[in-house]
């Protein structure tokens, strides 16, 4: 537990060039503070969000991924954020099926004016992930590790 709480998660955030990225800028201009755990990638639209990006982020060691876009009905490209929504819902189901906690993938709407809201979303996200603990996909399973009965017993002890 304690070991979990001083853990600093790394989160990749995908932002829309027209709303959430500007919201992030606005948060900066207003000097609103939030934890430094989120690293933002700018896309033209949340509709550009390719699930591959999310998989990639997890595979490369992100503890969580945040997708942000314009509010429904306010997409700069009219309705593409709905496509993002659809993909997010299916992607989340798939990740859950692969044992990744649903909370590690989060969709948040933030208009260009909502710097405070975005900052709050980020802060809350970081806290949620902190309690979930690290994912460390990039470390595990990459190097061959032998599972012998010994290992099995070890795991049983651990479990």
């Amino acid at each position: 537990m304690t070991e979990k709480n001083d853990f600093e998660p790394t989160i990749v955030g995908f932002t829309c060039n027209w709303c959430s990225y500007r919201a992030a800028d606005l948060a900066g201009i207003a000097r609103i503070k939030y934890p430094p755990n989120v690293r933002l990638v700018r896309l033209m639209c949340s509709g550009r969000l390719d699930p591959t990006f999310v998989m990639k982020a997890f595979a490369e060691g992100a503890d969580a991924v945040m997708i942000t876009g314009c509010h429904p009905g306010e997409c700069h490209y009219l309705e593409q954020n709905y496509k993002a929504l659809r993909r997010y819902l299916l992607l989340r189901r798939t990740l859950v099926a692969m044992g990744i906690e649903a909370e590690r993938l989060h969709l948040a709407w933030a208009s260009a004016a909502e710097g405070i809201q975005l900052a709050r979303e980020i802060t809350e996200m970081v806290e949620r992930v902190r309690t979930l603990g690290p994912l460390n996909w990039h470390l595990n399973g990459s190097q061959p590790e032998v599972v012998s009965e010994a290992a099995i017993e070890l795991e049983e002890v651990a479990a």
Binding site: R39, M44, G73, C75
Partner: protein, 669 residues
């Protein structure tokens, strides 16, 4: 499997970390970041990494240009403020030094790092991460050339209210052709229905009519009333507009506007549009005397001939044989370079507030009904009377904020209702001497001359009760309430419930987006807010442009506003358009999607995803193709293509995947 091969030739990257005075350096160890990039990312191709006080200064820019020349840089990464501020600056710098501007990448370590974090170590680490992301990304950048498109000199103005008229006149006076399309039979819009305008109380018709006539006669303005825009294709500079010219059943070339048809027409109909339901018109009619153009239109639903096959009175009496019962709608098509939407607002339907009794209690009127009643050319010739058409009221209650500032109806403040309510108070006083009560939540009289008007109305002895009216009822409790309308509200300044008996109630109703605002927005490819008001490009700095290049908005379509602001916006939109026209051509960001032909299997998954209809499918070759001019570069199809057959310049898979790798680079190494 076939994976991304790191096959780009060894690039030569220049990295520049900005102090931004102390804006960045106070929270980020910029020297360390630059040093780290030079040491740790050399293998990526970083040949020089500098930190500098003000990268955006001319000296900073020269630094970049010098390095491009001397160190033969092929890529540039600047870690500074948000790309929305200085991306252009550094792209131009690269261009000056002969490097394709799109080979430069900006990473934000100010808005998204130094200004929002409090721990210098963490902030520095994050700066390194985003920088490494930028470096990985820039390796995959490609030289791009912005595409330029010609701008057609003609402009489409939709909506003939005061905002639209203003915009049309400004552009026409500048010598450019304008198509002014109006859905109703005449231009003039809501302003034409008013009698007096606040705060100066000058007569609406007197100031509006000349502008209407001017617009009607202007050589550069093609006026299309009784017409609706059906479809818009194309893109900024080159829109193709399809307009439906509804059948007037009147041949305008022959019609002299003498009005005999209207006079002779036996069918009387309640006029819900111009007279706000308070007056009547004929089945063939010109909406109002000063209508522009002055040709009547025929209301087929109510025409006796179309109903029974008999009558034709209008035709019989028309001296110029201008009546044509066989006339059909016409489809008109023309190209324009820019579009201004000034489609205005709908009045809030006060019947929805059932506790105010409109539509149920006779002597409750809406603001528009009162405007008409008060108008000399209106149904009562300007007499302020009760529904019975004769009794002059002794006491009148005016209710503010009807349908506005109310989660049950509309959340927003309609901005004009307070002044409207005050105007009504003044007019009632002036014309009837009746006792007037104004019920308000907050008195909002900002802008020039408005609060002075409030003072004036206070002086005149109008009774102001601060409280949102709870209900209007005719159920009397006390003798003095018998036969009256009772307005029940809390007088919040004394904290007691009061019941005020009056003869007449006027509801100062708010404004709503047009009922079809959302569909219209779709036709023109722009976005509306959740309420349905159209969204401007920037709420402060770009209030009349929209996110869609070449489409502008003016007047109430952008949000409730009064006449002065509508006119101002009309003129502002016109100025923007004139500017565009004079550029003759404009450059478009080369952020575009394209289909790799041999990889496209014609599955058609992408076909329906583009709101700009940029994706077309060739049945013959079974391939999908993207029209680069229509493509706005959102990248949705790129992400959707199951075969990975669509690529997006500027935001390619390789660029983003590489950036992610960079962002998550293991710093300990």
């Amino acid at each position: 499997m076939t994976t991304k091969s790191n096959s780009h030739p060894q690039e030569r990257i220049g990295v520049y970390v900005c102090h931004c005075g102390t804006n960045i350096s106070a929270m980020v160890d910029v020297e360390d970041v630059a040093q780290w990039a030079a040491d740790k990312l050399e293998h990526k191709g970083v040949v020089i990494a500098r930190d500098y006080k003000f990268m955006c200064s001319s000296l900073g820019q020269e630094l970049v240009e010098k390095d491009i020349h001397e160190l033969k840089l092929t890529r540039v990464v600047v870690a500074a403020c948000s790309p929305h501020l200085h991306e252009k600056t550094f792209r131009t710098a690269c261009e000056r030094a002969g490097l394709n501007p799109y080979l430069c990448e900006l990473v934000s370590i100010r808005e998204q790092v130094s200004w929002v974090h409090t721990d210098k170590v963490a902030a520095t680490a994050k700066s390194k991460a985003v920088l490494s992301g930028g470096i990985e990304r820039v390796l995959w950048h490609e030289p791009l050339d912005p595409m330029t498109v010609p701008i057609h000199p003609a402009t489409l103005v939709v909506g003939g209210g005061i905002a639209g008229i203003q915009a049309a006149l400004e552009i026409a006076d500048a010598g450019h052709p304008v198509y002014l399309v109006e859905r109703d039979a005449s231009i003039g819009g809501h302003m034409a229905q008013f009698d007096k305008t606040f705060p100066t109380l000058d007569c609406a018709a007197c100031i509006l009519t000349p502008r209407m006539v001017e617009a009607g006669m202007h050589p550069n303005i093609t006026l299309m009333t009784w017409a609706e825009v059906e479809n818009v294709d194309g893109y900024v500079g080159n829109f193709d507009v399809t307009v439906r010219q509804k059948a007037r059943k009147v041949i305008t070339d022959l019609c002299t506007g003498c009005g005999i048809c209207e006079e002779k027409c036996p069918k009387k109909v309640i006029d819900d549009v111009y007279e706000a339901g308070l007056g009547y018109r004929k089945a063939v009619y010109t909406p109002f005397p000063q209508a522009v153009p002055n040709f009547p239109v025929m209301d087929v639903e109510n025409c006796i001939y179309f109903d029974t096959g008999k009558c034709k009175a209008c035709e019989k009496f028309c001296p110029t044989e201008a009546i044509d019962f066989t006339q059909e709608d016409e489809i008109v098509e023309f190209p324009v370079g820019n579009i201004i939407l000034a489609t205005g607002y709908d009045l809030f339907d006060a019947r929805r507030v059932s506790n105010y009794g409109y539509g149920h209690l006779e002597n409750v009127f809406t603001s528009m009904e009162f405007e008409r009643m008060n108008n000399a050319s209106g149904p009562t010739d300007g007499e302020i009377v009760l529904r019975d058409g004769k009794t002059v009221p002794d006491s009148v209650g005016i209710i503010h904020c009807v349908g506005s500032r109310d989660m049950n109806y509309n959340n927003y403040c309609s901005t004009i209702c307070c002044m409207q309510g005050l105007k009504f108070a003044h007019l009632v006083q002036e014309r009837t001497g009746a006792t007037v009560y104004n019920f308000y939540i907050d008195m909002r009289t900002a802008y020039k001359g408005y609060d002075e008007f409030y003072q004036k109305v206070l002086e005149e002895g109008t009774r102001f009760i601060r409280g949102k009216v709870a209900e209007v009822t005719d159920v009397a409790r006390l003798p003095n309430e018998e036969g009256k309308l009772i307005i029940q509200a809390e007088d919040t300044l004394i904290g007691k419930q009061r019941r005020i008996p009056v003869d007449m109630v006027i509801l100062s109703s708010g404004l709503e987006p047009r009922h079809d605002a959302k569909e219209v927005a779709k036709t023109f490819g722009i976005s509306c807010s959740a309420d349905g008001w159209y969204i401007e490009k920037h709420p402060k700095l770009d209030p009349v442009a929209t996110m869609t290049e070449g489409v502008y908005i003016a007047g109430c379509v952008q949000g409730p506003k009064d006449i002065p602001s509508s006119v101002a916006q009309g003129a502002a939109a016109a100025a923007r358009v004139i500017g565009k026209i004079q550029q003759k051509e404009m450059a478009l960001e080369p952020v575009r999607a394209s289909v790799l032909e041999d990889q496209c299997s014609g599955c058609r998954i992408c076909n329906d995803l583009c709101p700009f209809n940029a994706i077309l499918f060739h049945e013959d070759t079974m391939l999908s193709e993207i029209n680069p001019a229509l493509c706005q570069g959102c990248g949705t199809c790129v992400a959707a293509c199951p075969a990975g057959a669509i690529t997006g310049t500027g935001f390619s898979n390789e660029q983003v995947l590489a950036q992610i790798e960079g962002l998550l680079m293991d710093m300990s190494v």
